[in-house]
Symmetry: C2
Subunit: 337 residues, 2 copies
Amino acid sequence: MDLAPARGAATIEEVAARAGVSRSTVSRVVNGSTAVSPSALDAVRRAIDELQYVPNRAARSLASRQTRAIALVIPEQTDRFFGDPFFASIVAGIGEVIGESDYIMNMLIASDDASAKALGYLRSGSVDGAIVASHHTSDTFLDRVADVVPVVYGGRPARIRADDYYVDVDNVEGGRLATDYLLERGHRRIATISGPPDMPAGIDRLKGFRAAMADAGVTPAAVENGDFTESGGASAMTRILAAGERPDALFVASDLMARGAYEVLREKGLEPGRDIAVIGFDDSAVSTAVSPALTTVRQPSLTQGRHMASVLLDILAGRPAVHATILPTEVIERASA
Amino acid sequence: MDLAPARGAATIEEVAARAGVSRSTVSRVVNGSTAVSPSALDAVRRAIDELQYVPNRAARSLASRQTRAIALVIPEQTDRFFGDPFFASIVAGIGEVIGESDYIMNMLIASDDASAKALGYLRSGSVDGAIVASHHTSDTFLDRVADVVPVVYGGRPARIRADDYYVDVDNVEGGRLATDYLLERGHRRIATISGPPDMPAGIDRLKGFRAAMADAGVTPAAVENGDFTESGGASAMTRILAAGERPDALFVASDLMARGAYEVLREKGLEPGRDIAVIGFDDSAVSTAVSPALTTVRQPSLTQGRHMASVLLDILAGRPAVHATILPTEVIERASA
DNA sequence: CTGAAAGCGCTAACAG
DNA sequence: CTGTTAGCGCTTTCAG
């Protein structure tokens, strides 16, 4: 705030003057062009250093028509975003890959009330592309983003369009695996706490559950939907228990909801893993934090995040990119089922 | 991607042409100037609508020398950021206030390996100001941010400079309150699991602990530092128990660490709240999620977040802003102490 | 109330 | 290898 190029950073012009070259030459070294003589390169580097020069991003993007920035859009309320370990993994995976690129990533929490602003931002040419971390069928504003910049979705979009890009886990298969696991162990009064009916992940896991049950000729004991939160899982559990005949096994579409179910079960004097088999979905940190440790369907969220980022980078680089990537799931056996 | 202004959004020029006015007039309506005739205003609005015009942010910021964006910098590893409910509250508070302004907020996770990139971003004129959500003494790169844009720190900066702005909770007082609470209930063999020694919040809470103990003429049974994570709390607890005489009370500098301590205590057959009094710090969601519910020191994180955002908005608007805001803490009595 | 003109700081052909 | 010349899309005086 004192020495250095005063307040109001140095410009390329000043660097050029100090190095005794033209703006173009400075621009070349900044952008790593090889066509610069060693002496010029040296002079420019020194000047940049002395002036603490950092190119102005707005000017750069205006001239080059690209921003070297991507947005990570989170269409969720803040508390759900932070409350679910799933997002932590996704973000970590994305951050890892973007971190190695020369793009900067900025996260936008686009909860309902902030979606208009987020949309405006994305449409104003502020980023070269976007990753949308989760998806509700009600997120219509997202469609308008894809009209302006390349978008990669986390999870199958509610309405797939031919040129969409997305990375998903095989939720249908995961739901089926979980259900088969329960079926194989002789359970027949199987209930499920499903995900929200407005999210593809929720819909697909339930679909897998239903398919497995149908294949086995077994009728579901109960189907209640939660919203992927702990409290949502708890109230779904309460409803199931209130409904009548107690199930002997339970497929819960997310670990967090399973934790909520655990609590309700215990309140009713039912011990998970002993009185009722419970299998979750995610294999997030909560599955080992609860007791008994939760048997669950593992979904590779970190990998999913990495893939999303790679696909976007491919698109931006003009490389051929895969439209649909589906990652496998597997049952992780622990103590609850 | 088809109709509308093709790919490559409409420009102000096109809007002006369509509305039959000059660029200046379009600019005026976009920026809400009153000096526009009703008829022109109407024509421009219609044109904007038809063309789906959104001003280019780069061009705008280049010309106006402001970005209408602020950065929320998180100098933490991704897993700690997501793992600690403290950040959820801070972000929610900030988001709330920024959401009502016409600034857009972008979150930057500036973990060690990403800090150079983040710094470059902040210095490239991409934002008008920044909020730094937490602070380690090792975060020297942050000092260089403050040289370029106004910064508001969450928590007292490690080295305060005269013109710094920050919003903190009274950590020293909080540590003292917690300790006094234990002392007043007759405990004398009091240990503490402190925060990381490189974070002001950790340092200050420990300082309060020490001051209260000294005032009471009692020597601490043990002082072990954790790192504000659950596992850090667990290993600190293990060390305390291994060290010798078992304490009868424990002040843990964060709820999350207290949860870790709970586990270790139980493994050793010690029941929190019965065999050993435990008081935490934060009053985050985990304090009621654990059993027995954790007596803790409440810090108003949501409020802190709101304040941080307000201060930054004040600065940016050229309004007088408060340099240091210190928020009060209070003990919330529950079952563990 | 409105248009013309002059940049903001940078990149990108285009000559040399 | 290097400088010159045009803009990128917008805001902002300054006249009128």
